[in-house]
Subunit: 261 residues, 2 copies
C-alpha cells in the first residue's frame, strides 16, 4: 500500500455535492442542508427519493465498511460526497463546504473561530439535548430510560440550556460580532445557520423552556439572530418546502413529561 | 463596530504557543500537550506553575467573558493562545496546530479525513466515556448519580466501546492507512496521538474491559498503534516526566464498581 496523497483526490468545484443521510427526519443532516439552501448551491439529498440512495446510507454504516481507495470509513451519517472525496462528521462537513459556498472566509484565522462556535453548539448543546431522552443507552428505547431522562432533563433545563444560551449571547456581545445580528463579522456565516437549527430543534423539544428564556430578556441577541435566519429569502422558501422534514424521531423529540416541574 | 478581519490577527510562526488549561489533571488539555511533545515544539502550559496562569483559566471560564478585540469568548478550556489569536475546542486547536508542527498535511484534503477521525474519537468515545460517571448532570457528584452510572456503564462496555474499537480498527484496515501502524498514510499524524490518549484513558477507567478487547484479538491494529505511539522517543520521555499528570478527577476516573458484572 502506498501513502494516500490527499491532493490526488478529485474535488474540482464542478463535482456535485451529495449528502448521504437518513431520509424523513431533519437530524444532523439538517445543518448541512441549511448551508446549501442558504447559499443557493445545488446538492442532492440522495436518500430522500431513491432506494439506491437509502442503500448508500446503509452501506456507510455497515460494520464491515472500510472505506475506499481515497477515503477512510465513516462511523455514522451524515457524510458528504464531493467528487472522489467522502467526508463525515457534521462540523467537519461544514468546515469543508462553508468556505467553498460563501458561508465562511476562505483564508485567515476566522474559520477557526467559526469552527469553535460550531463545535460548542453541535458537540455541546445538540449532544446534550439528544441525551435528555437517551441518557443511558442509544440501544434502549426512551420508555426504558424514562426515569433517568426526567432526572437529566431537569438539570438540562435548569443548568445547561441557560449556560449555552449565555454563551451564544456572549459571542454576540463580543467585539468580533459586527454590526448586524450575526455571530461573527458583518455578514451571515454557517455558524448562524447552526445556531438557528440548534435553537429551532430545542424549541420543538422543550417549548416551555425556550419561551421562558425568551421572556427573561437576557438572550435577545440569540432570538433576534434566530428570526433573522428564518427570514432569509432562501431559508424562508426552504422552510416552507417539503424538503424541510417534520421533527419526529432522532435528536429532537417532544416528550411533554420531560418539561414538567 | 467594524467587521473583524481574520487576516489581521497576528499569528506569525515565531509567536509562542500557550496552552490554557486546568493544572494537575491530564484532561482534554492532554491531547494538545501530546501534539507539542511529539513534535518537539516548545509550548507553555501556563496554569501548571503560576498563579497568573491559573487565573487565565479562571478568566476564560468567567460567565461575563466576552473575548477581546480579536477573539470571541470560549465556553471552556482548553484554549490555545498563539500571538493575538485565541482559539478553543480541542479538535479545533489540534486542527490549527497539527499542520503547523508537522503532524498533518498542510494542503489537500487529508486534513478533513484526519479531522473526521479525531472528531469521532474525541466528541464520540471520549464524551461517552465521561458520561459513564456523569450520566445525569455534571453539576452533581458521581455519588449522587451512581446508580445511573452503573446502568450506563453496562451498555458502554457492551455496545459502545466495541463499536468505537471496531471503527478505529476499520480505519486501520482501510486503504488510506499506509504501510506502518498509523491511522492515515505512512507516517504518524495527530490522529494517532488522539487515539493513543483515548485508549490510555479508557484503560485507566475500564482496565478489565480493555484487557478483554485486547484478548479478543479483533483489534490488534489498535493496540499495535497504541504501543507504537508510546514508544516514540519524545512521547516516551514525556510520559516519564512530571509534565505527564496522573489520572485522578476529570474525564478519566477509576470506579471499580462500574466494571462489575
Amino acid at each position: 500500500m502506498s501513502q494516500p496523497d490527499p491532493k490526488r483526490v478529485n474535488t474540482d468545484d464542478d463535482a456535485p455535492y451529495e449528502l448521504i443521510y437518513w431520509p424523513i427526519i431533519p437530524g444532523r443532516g439538517e445543518f448541512v442542508r441549511l448551508a446549501f439552501e442558504e447559499a443557493g448551491v445545488p446538492y442532492s439529498d440522495i436518500a430522500q427519493n431513491t432506494e439506491k440512495g437509502f442503500n448508500a446510507v446503509k452501506n456507510l454504516t455497515a460494520t464491515d465498511n472500510i472505506g475506499d481507495e481515497h477515503n477512510p470509513p465513516a462511523l455514522a451519517p451524515p457524510a458528504l460526497k464531493h467528487g472522489d472525496l467522502l467526508i463525515s462528521q457534521t462540523p467537519n462537513i461544514l468546515l469543508y463546504v462553508a468556505p467553498r459556498i460563501g458561508l465562511a472566509p476562505k483564508e485567515g484565522n476566522g474559520l477557526y473561530h467559526l469552527n469553535e462556535i460550531v463545535l460548542t453548539i453541535l458537540d455541546g448543546l445538540v449532544i446534550e439535548l439528544h441525551d435528555t431522552h437517551h441518557p443511558i443507552a442509544i440501544s434502549l428505547y426512551y420508555e426504558d430510560q424514562k426515569e433517568e431522562s426526567k432526572r437529566k432533563s431537569k438539570y438540562f433545563i435548569k443548568d445547561r440550556l441557560p449556560k449555552y444560551f449565555k454563551y451564544m449571547q456572549r459571542v454576540l456581545d463580543a467585539k468580533t460580532s459586527g454590526e448586524g445580528p450575526w455571530l461573527y463579522g458583518d455578514s451571515l456565516t454557517y455558524a448562524d445557520l447552526v445556531l438557528f437549527q440548534a435553537v429551532d430543534g430545542t424549541k420543538f423539544a422543550f417549548p416551555k423552556s425556550i419561551e421562558a428564556l425568551k421572556k427573561s430578556g437576557e438572550y435577545d441577541g440569540v432570538f433576534k439572530l434566530y428570526d433573522a435566519v428564518k427570514e432569509r429569502p432562501n431559508i424562508s422558501k426552504y422552510l416552507q418546502s417539503d424538503r424541510r422534514r417534520e421533527y419526529s424521531e432522532g435528536i429532537w423529540r417532544y416528550y411533554p413529561e420531560l418539561e414538567e416541574e
